[in-house]
């Protein structure tokens, strides 16, 4: 059933796809990409994993149940609103912190917006995987 060639290629591909997904996530705020796209790409990696190896191994690799992952992602997105709340802003207000900024260079940004995007990434990943795993195991 399972092709050795597929399995062999998957070894490298899964890592590459995941890498690519993180890349897309990180640069999303400035260039094409973002939590959605990255989440979809990452889920493609695990789908490939499941197709090439087995559902069980894909689940093991993921370590958390996809639904839980998705819920955690959504809650992270929600949690990104908490700093704003503490400062008295309405929900989904972005707060930015620039570390080590200088003239012309704002420094490394840390923001609730990015946290929100990471939450979206995890939520999309978890939800899409939950769909695939359910359909695959049925």
């Amino acid at each position: 059933m399972i092709s050795l060639i597929l399995q062999g290629a998957t070894r490298l591909l899964v890592a590459l796809i995941l890498l690519f997904s993180v890349y897309m996530l990180m640069r999303g705020h400035n260039l094409p990409g973002g939590g959605f796209i990255a989440g979809l790409i990452a889920s493609a990696a695990f789908v490939l994993y499941a197709l090439a190896w087995s559902l069980r191994e894909a689940r093991e690799a993921l370590r958390v149940s996809p639904v839980k992952l998705a819920a955690i992602g959504a809650l992270i997105s929600l949690a990104s609103a908490v700093p704003g709340m503490l400062k008295g802003f309405p929900p989904f207000t972005g707060l930015w912190l620039f570390i080590g900024g200088g003239a012309g260079d704002k420094g490394i940004p840390i923001s609730t917006v990015l946290l929100f995007d990471v939450g979206i990434y995890l939520a999309v990943l978890g939800a899409v995987l939950a769909l695939f795993f359910t359909i695959e195991e049925d």
Binding site: H29, N30, I37, L51, F92, K106, F116, D117, A130
Partner: protein, 769 residues
């Protein structure tokens, strides 16, 4: 027939029952006394109005108006109500549902009193409908019998439909007058009758009144309503509820009355009702049914008299209301006693009870004489007045007079039948052990009968206190009424004697008449009651047909309907708008743009051209690429990437499920698909047109500029799309993630059946209990 009646071995009465019966007795008694105290003030002063503002927004006040008319009805309701309640307490003692019975009866009394005392059209209507509900519950009291349920439904539907007509009429009336309060409505005769809506109002109000008062052609529900326990019949269907319609007519006389249409309609409908109901009454062998039909006769006569401008006719009507309430309530209660003691109401199986039940016999005779219009009972005065009134009605004296004579003659016969026949003759074998009823049962009818006699002997007791003010209120002008037992020898007396002679004749010929009528009835097509059934069945049938054709269960036809509606409405919208000047910009597309569009084009066409789903899925993949390219060409790389990813993932998902789906399915016929194709093309075209119409308006988007200017300085992002997604409109993104999450868990719930709670099922069940 009241099988629930327990005669000898009554279980002890519970506390609930005692409290309810106490309330039920105390309430009407209190109201009676209060209303009696109002007689003086009402006679001396203008109508008394009091109440509170209820719904000022709608002009509805919870206010009450006490004038002669409402006082008369109020006293009848509370007075007769008290005695009926007393009777019911004994009649239904120990019945398992007696508390509910008391509650319904109380509700009914409340409704009825509110109805006649209401000083606001809407308030009146509210109480009107309360009586409808209460009577529904009371008619269906013996709910385990199918016939009781049917009768209750019939009464409910007919009176409620009338009620809705009435509501419409009252609303229109209120709209014209500018107020729902009687104080203003009753003085607006000129204004109302000149209004173009006057005729509709009259028709609507009359429908309301006629349904409630069982006038032709709505008369049939009333005899069927005899499925109710006898105290209910005595109360609702003789003394009170059916008179609500009469009250309404009388109440509306000052504002709606006097016109030709009003007078003529009331005369004709009333006369027809009286005559036909009288004939129908002759056919009955069930005592209660016979009485029920005579109630219809009485109501017909009342309606007939209200269709008059002569004060004597109105006076006749008012007096007759009084008379009828007393004797009919008494007779119903008598029939109830007979039923209670013998277990039957069937005329043919009764006889010779006079010796066993002398008190009942006496009451029956007194009430019967009153009904037959014998002096010195109040009935006699009533009848004399009736003839006088009939002669006084201007338009159709002969017609009305003949109708009155005819109906009264048959009433005499029926009075004799009901009041005398069960007590005469030979006592049947089965009834040898029958005894006289306990006093609790006969006290009430006795009082009723005695009141009939008392007022007959001293008519002035009621003439000035009740009848006069009532007539005044009905006429809308000051009237004095004189009631006398002896008027001298005049035309009404002659008519009375004729009536009596005819009645006695009819009484003796009754079996023959009954047989004759039955033969005619068999020969006639159908009566109203069966017509009602046919109508109801026809409605149910039509409803079934409607639903089968609309809600047929075939998905693709549902979809076709939705699509057809959409495209037709879009076209209609286009036409209504007057169309638009299409400014199509066939700007030159580059090759690669053509390529992308051609891909989409081809993908769509291949998808529909192929007959198997597997081909379609591949062509859709190709189409997805085309769409992504379009996004890419027109400056949307984010969207393009997402599109490609989603398309890919979805195809994978489909591929993963395909082995669990059938490969081939039936294909619809060519003709069906042709229609589908037409529909599809029309939807496509109309959507196209809509979009083109939208594109004709130049887009001025302040948001576009704002996002471009704010992205970097305020949101610190260079990818504006992403900044919108995670910052400007993060809420959308969040919601959308929730959608995908729910979709995933939902799909899991669909497909997984192995999922179990962490706790074993049994434990979980215990835990929940």
């Amino acid at each position: 027939m009241d099988t629930e009646v327990h005669s000898g071995d009554q279980p002890p009465t519970g506390w609930g029952e005692r409290i309810w019966s106490l309330v039920l007795l105390a309430f009407p008694l209190g109201v009676t006394l209060w209303l009696l105290s109002m007689i003086g003030p009402v006679r001396e002063h203008a109508p008394i109005v009091f109440g509170i503002s209820w719904i000022p927004s709608l002009g509805v006040e919870l206010n009450f108006l006490i004038d002669g008319l409402s006082l008369l009805f109020g006293l009848l309701i509370s007075g007769v109500g008290f005695f009926v309640a007393l009777y019911a307490k004994f009649y239904l003692r120990g019945h398992p549902l007696i508390q509910r019975f008391f509650f319904y009866l109380l509700l009914f009394m409340l409704g009825m009193l509110g109805l006649v005392l209401a000083g606001n059209l809407i308030t009146l209507f509210v109480f009107w409908e309360i009586t409808t509900i209460a009577s529904y519950l009371l008619i269906g009291f013996n709910h385990e019998k199918a016939s009781a349920r049917r009768s209750a439904l019939q009464a409910l539907l007919i009176t409620a439909m009338g009620g809705l007509a009435l509501l419409a009429g009252l609303l229109l009336l209120g709209m014209i007058v500018g107020s729902y309060n009687f104080t203003e409505v009753l003085v607006a005769k000129q204004q109302v009758q000149a209004h173009p809506l006057y005729l509709p109002i009259v028709i609507l109000v009359l429908i309301g009144a006629f349904t409630k008062s069982a006038q032709l052609p709505f008369h049939f529900w009333l005899p069927n309503a005899m499925a109710a326990p006898t105290p209910v019949s005595a109360y609702l269907h003789s003394a009170t509820m059916v008179k609500a319609g009469i009250y309404l007519l009388a109440r509306m006389c000052p504002v709606l009355g006097g016109s030709d249409v009003w007078l003529l309609t009331l005369n004709i409908v009333g006369a027809l009702t009286a005559v036909i109901a009288a004939i129908l009454a002759m056919r009955q062998t069930d005592l209660k049914l016979a009485l029920a039909y005579t109630t219809v006769v009485a109501l017909g006569i009342l309606v007939m008299f209200l269709g008059s401008e002569a004060s004597v006719a109105i006076a006749a009507a008012i007096t007759f209301i009084l008379v009828h309430s007393f004797y009919k309530a008494a007779l119903f209660m008598v029939v109830g006693i007979i039923d209670h003691q013998t277990g039957t109401r069937e005329l043919t199986s009764l006889g010779g009870l006079g010796k066993r039940m002398p008190i009942t016999f006496g009451i029956a005779a007194a009430a019967g004489f009153s009904m037959a219009g014998f002096p010195p009972f109040l009935g006699f005065i009533g009848k004399e007045l009736k003839y006088e009134g009939a002669l006084a009605i201007a338009e159709e004296p002969t017609f009305v007079a003949w109708a009155a004579v005819f109906a009264n003659a048959l009433m005499v016969a029926i009075a004799a039948t009901v009041a005398l026949r069960p007590f005469w003759g030979r006592l049947p074998e089965k009834l040898q052990s029958v005894r006289e009823a306990p006093p609790g049962l006969w006290i009430s009818p006795l009082v009723m009968a005695l009141l009939g006699l008392t007022f007959g002997l001293a008519p002035s007791l009621v003439a000035t206190t009740l009848v006069g003010p009532a007539v005044t209120a009905t006429m809308g002008q000051e009237e004095t009424v004189v009631l006398k037992l002896w008027h001298g020898i005049n035309l009404p007396l002659v008519m009375s004697i004729t009536t009596f002679a005819l009645g006695v004749l009819a009484f003796y010929l009754q079996p023959n008449i009954r047989a004759l009528l039955n033969r005619i009835a068999n020969w006639l097509p159908r009566n109203s009651d069966t017509q009602w059934d046919r109508g109801l069945n026809a409605f149910k049938w039509a409803a079934g047909v409607h639903t089968r054709h609309i809600q047929h269960g075939i998905l693709k036809q549902y979809l076709a309907a939705v699509f057809a509606v959409t495209s037709v409405l879009l076209l209609w919208g286009l036409m209504r708008s007057g169309g638009f000047d299409m400014d199509v910009d066939w700007e030159r597309l580059t090759v690669k743009e053509w390529a992308a569009m051609a891909l989409v084009f081809a993908g769509s066409l291949v998808a529909i051209g192929c007959r198997a789903p597997l081909t379609a899925i591949c062509s859709l993949g190709g189409m997805g690429v085309g769409i992504a390219l379009i996004f890419l060409f027109f400056g949307a790389p984010d969207v393009a990437i997402t599109q490609l990813l989603v398309e890919t993932l979805f195809l994978v998902l489909v591929a993963m499920t395909l082995h669990r789906l059938p490969h081939s399915t039936e294909v619809s016929g060519r003709r069906v698909r042709f229609v589908d194709a037409l529909l599809a093309v029309s939807v496509g075209t109309t959507v196209c047109l809509t979009l083109l119409a939208v594109l004709q308006q130049p887009l001025i988007s302040p948001t576009k500029e704002y996002f471009e200017l704010a992205s970097v300085p305020e949101a610190f992002g260079r990818n504006i799309v992403n900044v919108i997604l995670v910052d400007f409109r993060a809420l959308d993104t969040f919601g959308e993630v929730v959608v995908v999450l729910v979709a995933a868990v939902g799909a899991a719930a669909l497909l997984r059946r192995k999922l179990k709670p962490r706790v074993p099922i049994a434990a979980a069940k215990e835990e929940r209990a």
